[in-house]
């Protein structure tokens, strides 16, 4: 119970690149949010992000009725009262403003997912990426370092390329070596940046399960919308992006937290 006498809950999406926390009231208003880069121990990052989100919501930690954790580091969220899978949270977050049937494509720091959702909002199929093609966001951060731009500038580089350089989609390490190889042979940084976006679109398409309408969530499309363009180009389908895509997982988690309060 908050000071104003209202119910408030939090969702924490503990990713490999960023930890995202949102605070939600009973009327589904997003009253607090935080995104902090993941480094060091997950516990510290979760604490940091929760504190920021609570400040925005003007609440004390003790006032949260439930906290739901999800993501790669969910197990480290000792404060969480429950934990849900990334698949469930991203689908839930995506459906917050949309409705099924649709295909939710979660592209985050590590494991992309293709989630098929039916008209009733139920998950009917999940496709995962193969082990050696993981690390989507991490790969783009690597590319930014070698192309010598800030990660947020990678997109600007790609926008001015006429065609993508060929960057493979089989394995993230292979792709990283190819980026360096391309630089050595003098290929323009713009083309390489666009090639990286296409490499990711390829990995997503290889996972299977892609059928329109497509709705993308996750941090990658927040910072690198070129991936969305490449995905639309390669799949031939229109691709929509969730509002505040990076927070979709945390939002879904918070909705589950709210459910748990209602059930009590």
């Amino acid at each position: 119970m908050t000071a104003q006498g209202k119910v408030a809950v939090a969702g924490a999406d503990v990713g490999t690149e960023c930890v995202k926390v949102v605070v939600l009231d009973a009327e589904h208003n997003l009253i607090g949010r935080a995104i902090v880069p993941t480094r060091g121990y997950f516990e510290d990052c979760i604490q940091e992000a929760t504190a920021i989100a609570l400040t925005e919501a003007q609440l004390a930690a003790s006032e949260l009725r439930a906290i739901c954790a999800t993501g790669f580091g969910a197990a480290c969220a000792a404060v969480a009262s429950l934990s849900m899978s990334e698949t469930a949270c991203h689908a839930r977050g995506a459906l917050f403003r949309s409705h099924g049937p649709l295909t939710v494509v979660d592209i985050g720091g590590r494991d992309p997912k293709v989630i098929t959702v039916d008209a009733g909002g139920g998950i009917t199929a999940v496709h995962n990426v193969r082990k050696c093609a993981v690390g989507i966001g991490t790969f783009l951060m690597f590319a930014a370092r070698h192309l010598d731009v800030h990660p947020t500038r990678l997109m600007d580089l790609a926008t001015s390329a006429e065609k993508p350089a060929r960057v493979g989609s089989y394995c993230s390490i292979f792709a990283e070596v190819e980026v360096i190889d391309l630089l050595r042979s003098g290929v323009s940084a713009n083309e390489i940046a666009l090639g990286c976006m296409h490499s990711i679109a390829e990995r997503i398409l290889e996972m299977g399960g892609i059928a329109p309408p497509l709705l993308v969530t996750g941090g990658v499309c927040e910072y690198f919308p070129g991936v969305i363009t490449a995905l639309a180009e390669r799949s031939g389908f229109a691709v929509e992006v969730a509002k505040e895509p990076i927070l979709a997982g945390a939002l879904g988690a918070a909705l589950f937290a709210l459910d748990s309060v209602a059930a009590k």
Partner: protein
């Protein structure tokens, strides 16, 4: 003695050929025209036990109008064909002609007597064990007891004794006795108990012995037969327990199955009516009952009908496959430029000729797809294409298509489509590239040869001699295109190829021929098969000689040349054109040697390529080795096509041996030995071992062959990690660095 043998099957073939060898005047009568032609042209090959083969020339007729009356007619058809056979040979019989039946079961002589009356009929029994090891090959073991023959009217005349003497003189132990009824029933007691039960359960004799429930059933069958025998006055061998001798014969037969099982499996009619069927009718005549035998007869008939239904279903499938859209319409590849094959070498003058004949092959294939009177089969690279050609099919080879897709460097798109369709990234990319292109409806054939479609298959035929994954590949087509699938699974991982393995492959080939004939309604033309096999044999030998020219320093050709020029060996094996092409290529290469032309100018070192080709990067690889003045002179893959041992005089068995003996089907020890020999013959300085990520079965480096060969031969290995079709797994830059490093210390 003038003898007419009716039916040139196992028993007729053996008895007739043996009598003929002894100088008797023997003529065969055979209704199957193709079989008659095969035997007339090539003779019949006999081998006793494991002894060597001998060929007996025979005279086989398909009509008897011109034949003067004979002294003896020997009936050797299935019991259910007896009446028709006797009526057919009437023109060759006079009032002095005797007729002898040693067919299985009882009731045969009664059928003959119904046509001819009771005189001059000999009822007989044999104990030979005979097996077909090829369409015109028999292996036999002489019977444990002599052949017995008895005149039906019981009168042993000098003419009858003369017939017995003729058999004995030919080495066929025979006895003339007053009555064979007892012997026939005693043989029947064994056969009617063992044969149908083994045929229905598929079990060998030792397996049946170990099954208590089956023994109860078989004992019951035996008791019913023994009751009939007692009523006929036939003495029982073991009065105390009549079933005991049958246990002994099951022990003796051990792992064998009687031929009735094979009849059922192959969909032939069985002789159940002359065996258990006769028991039932004889029991009825004698006022007894034989319900268990009756049930067995019905069960065997039911299995026979089951096969007839399956054949009808096959005909329906064929009609459906043909009625479905006859072609797989195709788009050209998005980038029209087809240029993935290597260049930069001294080009061979033959190259345009090669293009021309491969084009003619594909144009003919497309024509076969449009012409409703022609037939298309899809075949694996080392499948039994000779049989397909001889049965009137035009073959298409998905493996060549996959190689062309690889060379087009567009595999990325196709692999992705196949992955999204559920294939793993670890699945053979040769397979998934081809399947992905099918999913995309695209083909390099459109751009290169201008054909607009790949004809749909009527049948899919593969052999796993080149690796097991081909079965999965063809299963996919079977699922997608609905055409029936016929697979050969020869024994694999062989060190020496023993006769027993060849025999196993022969049986599979014969079974394939049966199934293909049943399905298509077309018989195998043995003449045509001999011609096709001869063409394959000649092309294989020429290809071997072409590869051998690379022993010359400097080499007139490289591995990369052979990858292109091997195409006719794959696509056109068994045709005259392939032979002609290789004659031209051989001549050109010999001229090159005479003129001192090197395929790699300034040849510094000679490499061997072990492992599958990197189809998706042939051009950059060829350029890379050329730059470094390294001639890759030989490789395992093109070597496989140097087919040895094909023989027009013995097509089926030589195909079985040759296709079972191919390099990929051999043991690690064999591969090590052959590579060591090749390294010496070609003067190899270093060997590339391609570890193809999705082609483990052909990547010998996976089990350390490279280190073993380095120890045995001193040839240093260069292990390249790449793939046949997935560009994402191939780094030319990495290979270049490895090669340069290697060259620093070779």
């Amino acid at each position: 003695m003038r003898i007419l043998v009716v039916g040139a099957g196992a028993l007729g073939g053996l008895i007739g050929a043996t009598l003929s060898e002894a100088g008797e005047e023997v003529v065969f009568f055979e209704a199957n025209v193709a079989r008659a032609k095969l035997l007339n042209d090539n003779g019949l090959f006999l081998s006793e036990g494991d002894a060597g083969e001998r060929c007996v020339r025979v005279k086989v007729m398909t009509a008897l109008d011109q034949l003067a009356p004979v002294d003896l007619v020997f009936i050797a058809v299935k019991s259910y064909q007896t009446t028709d056979a006797v009526k057919a040979v009437l023109p060759a019989m006079s009032e002095r002609t005797w007729i002898l039946s040693t067919q299985n079961g009882v009731g045969n002589v009664e059928q003959i007597a119904a046509v001819l009356g009771h005189s001059r009929i000999l009822s007989g029994i044999t104990f030979h064990s005979i097996q077909h090891t090829g369409p015109n090959r028999l292996r036999y073991r002489s019977g444990i007891k002599p052949i017995q023959m008895a005149p039906l009217d019981g009168k042993v005349t000098p003419a009858v004794i003369a017939i017995g003497a003729t058999f004995n003189a030919a080495g066929l132990a025979a006895q003339v006795v007053p009555n064979v009824d007892h012997a026939v029933w005693r043989k029947l007691l064994h056969n009617a108990v063992v044969n149908p039960v083994s045929a229905l359960t598929g079990m060998s004799c030792s397996e049946m012995l170990a099954d208590d429930d089956l023994q109860v059933l078989m004992r019951e069958l035996a008791h019913e037969i023994v009751a009939v025998m007692r009523a006929r006055g036939v003495p029982i061998d073991d009065e105390e327990d009549p079933y005991r001798p049958i246990i002994a014969s099951q022990k003796a037969l051990a792992k064998n199955r009687p031929s009735m099982w094979q009849d059922l499996v192959r969909g032939f009619r069985t002789e159940i009516d002359a065996m258990n069927g006769s028991v039932v009718s004889e029991a009825k005549r004698l006022g007894l009952s034989a319900p268990t035998n009756d049930a067995i007869v019905n069960l065997v008939h039911s299995r026979e009908r089951q096969h007839q239904r399956r054949q009808a279903l096959g005909a329906q499938t064929l009609a459906a496959v043909k009625a479905a859209q006859a072609q797989l319409p195709l788009q050209p590849l998005p980038r029209a430029r087809f240029g993935g094959m290597p260049s930069g070498r001294v080009p061979l003058e033959c190259a345009p000729k090669l293009k021309e004949i491969v084009r003619s092959y594909y144009l003919d294939l497309a024509e076969a797809g449009r012409d409703p009177s022609r037939h298309v089969a899809w075949c694996s690279g080392f499948g039994p294409v000779e049989i397909l050609r001889a049965m009137g099919w035009t073959p298409y080879f998905p493996e060549n298509h996959a190689a062309l897709i690889g060379a087009s460097r567009l595999t990325g798109k196709y692999i992705r489509l196949a992955l999204a369709d559920g294939f793993s990234p670890f699945a053979s990319t040769e397979m998934v590239s081809d399947i992905g292109a099918m999913l995309a409806g695209e083909s390099p054939l459109v751009g290169i040869y201008g054909i607009d479609a790949i004809p749909r298959p009527e049948v899919l035929v593969y052999s796993t001699n080149f690796g097991p994954y081909v079965a999965r590949w063809f299963e996919y087509y079977n699922h997608r295109l609905g055409a029936p699938l016929f697979g050969l699974h020869p024994p694999s991982v062989l060190d020496e190829v023993e006769k027993i393995e060849v025999d196993a492959s022969v049986q599979q080939l014969l079974r394939l021929v049966d199934r293909l004939s049943a399905f298509s309604g077309r018989a195998l033309d043995h003449d045509r098969l001999a011609t096709v096999v001869e063409h394959s044999a000649r092309a294989g030998l020429l290809w071997q000689r072409i590869l051998d020219l690379a022993q010359h320093v400097p080499s007139p050709l490289t591995y990369f040349d052979t990858l292109i020029h091997v195409a006719p060996m794959l696509l056109m094996r068994g045709t005259e054109q392939a032979v002609t092409y290789y004659e031209i290529l051989l001549a050109e290469l010999e001229q090159r040697i005479a003129a001192g032309v090197a395929a790699v100018p300034g040849e510094r070192l000679r490499f061997y390529w072990e492992g599958p080709p990197i189809w998706c990067a042939l051009r950059p690889l060829a350029s890379l080795f050329l730059e470094q003045q390294v001639a890759v002179v030989a490789s395992t893959y093109p070597r496989v096509f140097a087919l040895e041992g094909l023989n027009r005089d013995n097509p089926i068995e030589s195909m079985a041996r040759t296709y079972t003996s191919v390099f990929p089907n051999r043991s690690r020890e064999f591969k090590a030995r052959q590579l060591a020999v090749d390294y010496r013959r070609y003067g190899i300085d270093a060997a590339v071992y391609h570890d193809a990520r999705t082609c483990p079965e052909h990547s010998t480096v996976r089990y350390g062959l490279h280190l073993r060969l380095q120890r045995d031969t001193g040839v240093p290995p260069l292990v390249i990690e790449a793939d046949t079709h997935d560009l994402r797994l191939v780094s030319i830059d990495q290979i270049r660095r490895q090669l340069i490093e290697q060259l620093e210390h070779v």
